[in-house]
């Protein structure tokens, strides 16, 4: 049974306007880490807030554990949420923050203490119990917010960009820790982020959203390798997929599949293009080459290539090289709908 399901879920903030969330059908699986990924304004947070009960849907249904919960208050839904700002109660100590949901449930004091100890030992924050939120660092606040979310042993765990307030270094370790943590407690989690690296690294499945609609749902590998449309293709990956319209079709290929002479030959069936490198970036582990196509169907189109720095090719700015893409790495999209279409013969 799906822990969370949404059916044709729609939210329109101002009548007559385009919905912030449009007809979203979603189904999470037991114990899964589901990531809602999209740029800002894509409706992912609104979707999460509707599941939490903080926002009322305009139409459609939300089911939690098979039951329609549209009319239930957040408190009746038995969920836990970690906010982007952590939303810790500033006047309460970390301990009182953590036991607040238990107190609201009317759980006895001894049991409260036991559960708080359990949550704190999982997150290693027992020594912070007597501190107020303002005396905690960003990472510590995040742990206290997590502890507050898990003490109730919720059936569902909602996370709204919980890592975005941490500095880059801390974010990477917190990401891994959070992922491990979710696996250990085994609670279904829905995680909102605009960071594709977070989404790819943490998600069992990724829901890519844009302008209130779901563009694609799939494992990180599927959404990356088999994008359903040009939005998904360009939103995921950095630098994004090269999208080149020609002859009534859009051809897409990832920069890391656009390979220099000497490598392309080993790919089996492939197409070659003349690539003029205009400038390049050396990033340590890899090199990013920016340039344009020379001649052929894609004449003058901008393309990017990403090659490992270990590849010793002598490539200098301003010169033209014969780059190639394996046929299996070419994706085709319909120019009207921008949806993926069947493989076709690549324009050369």
């Amino acid at each position: 049974m799906a822990i969370v399901e949404t059916r044709k879920l729609t939210k329109v903030f101002k009548r007559g306007n385009v919905g912030a969330v449009n007809n979203v059908d979603l189904e999470s699986r037991e114990g899964e880490f589901l990531v809602l990924l999209g740029p800002s304004g894509s409706g992912k947070t609104t979707l999460l807030r509707m599941i939490a009960g903080l926002e009322e849907p305009t139409s459609g249904d939300i089911l939690i554990g098979g039951r329609v919960v549209n009319d239930l208050t957040p408190r009746e839904r038995g969920i836990a949420m970690v906010f982007q700002s952590y939303a810790l109660y500033p006047h309460l100590t970390a301990f009182k923050n953590i036991v607040f949901p238990l107190k609201a449930q009317g759980i006895a004091k001894a049991e409260r203490q036991k559960r708080a100890d359990w949550a704190a030992s999982l997150l290693g924050i027992k020594h912070l119990f007597q501190r107020k939120p303002r005396e905690l660092s960003g990472g510590e606040r995040q742990r206290v917010a997590l502890a507050r979310a898990i003490v109730r042993e919720p059936s569902l765990f909602l996370l709204d960009e919980p890592l975005s307030n941490l500095d880059a270094k801390l974010r990477a370790s917190a990401r891994e820790e959070l992922e491990q943590f979710q696996k250990r407690i085994g609670t279904t989690a829905i995680y909102v982020t605009h960071d594709q690296v977070e989404a790819m690294a943490m998600g069992d499945r990724v829901v890519v959203m844009s302008q209130g609609s779901v563009r694609q749902i799939g494992t990180p590998a599927v959404v990356y390798d088999e994008p359903a449309d040009t939005f998904v293709a360009t939103f995921l990956g950095s630098p994004p997929m090269n999208i080149l319209p020609a002859n009534g079709v859009i051809v897409g290929f990832r920069p890391e599949h656009f390979l220099p002479p000497g490598v392309a030959e080993r790919l089996g069936e492939h197409v070659s293009y003349q690539f003029r490198v205009t400038h390049s970036e050396y990033l340590g582990a890899e090199r990013i080459l920016y340039g344009t196509m020379e001649g052929g169907a894609f004449n003058e189109r901008k393309v990017i290539s990403r090659i490992p720095a270990t590849h010793g090719a002598e490539i200098s700015d301003g010169n033209v090289y014969s780059f190639a893409v394996a046929n299996r790495d070419l994706k085709f999209f319909d120019p009207k709908t921008e949806k993926r279409t069947a493989a076709a013969r690549p324009p050369s």
Binding site: P74, A80, F83, Q84, A87, Y89, P90
Partner: protein, 291 residues
Amino acid sequence: MRQRWLGPAMFMPAILYIFALVGVPFVMAFVYSVSDVKIGSEGYHFVGLHNFTSVIDSPSFRQAVKNSFIFTISSQILVLIGANILALALRDAFPGRRFMRFLVLLPWVAPVSIGSIGWKWILDSVYSVVNWVLVRFHFVKEFDAPVWLGIPKLAIISVILVHTWHMLPFATVILLAGLTAIPRDIPEAAAVDGAGFFRTLFQITIPMMLPIINVAVLFGAIFTFTDMTVIYILTRGGPFDSTQVIPSLAFFTGILGSDLSEGAAISIFMVPLLVIVSYFMLRTAHRAEVT
């Protein structure tokens, strides 16, 4: 060098004002309270603490002290409860909220004397509109309607309610500012954590607003404790001193009764209490700045 005199010149009016209208009378009150000065009398004779002992012995004064505390404490409690309810009601958007906010502010904007005169008529023994309604709906008999300002218990209740009516808008505006300063996430987190309306209100919202509530209460307490407008217009301290407070007694004794020295002595009794309240007010203001 223009700057050298411009600064002092700009705040000179404020200094002058405070010196002439607050500082001088304040010192005069102390000077008079230990003398036998009356309006029209010549000369100044030091009489020590004679005025103070005579004031303490007077039943009117004891009644006024008691009333001052009843008046201040009960009106502040009512203001606090009312302002909290109004602030909560006016926080979230609804059609006509701006108009409602304007209406709520009106009693504060209108001069307190004019408002009080209106209330004097509303509570009048003969023309009271309140009584007219009560009679029409058969809550009271026509010739047995309550005399709001003529019966001691009703009179103090009336005075407290009218003063509350006047103070409510200001407290509401302060609390509304405190309420809107709470990030939206916090009550939402409480909702998801399973807290209902009252748990969120008493364990989250009000504790978070406490510094600003303190400011509203201390300010309101000082204002109420030293105010006599409503009482002067509605009851003149009567019936039988039942609504007499320290400032009104000081005024009646010192100015209308010509006994300047005793009036001064009465008003001096407010100083210790106001010093204490001011101390707490400055402390909370300071703390609010730090955190």
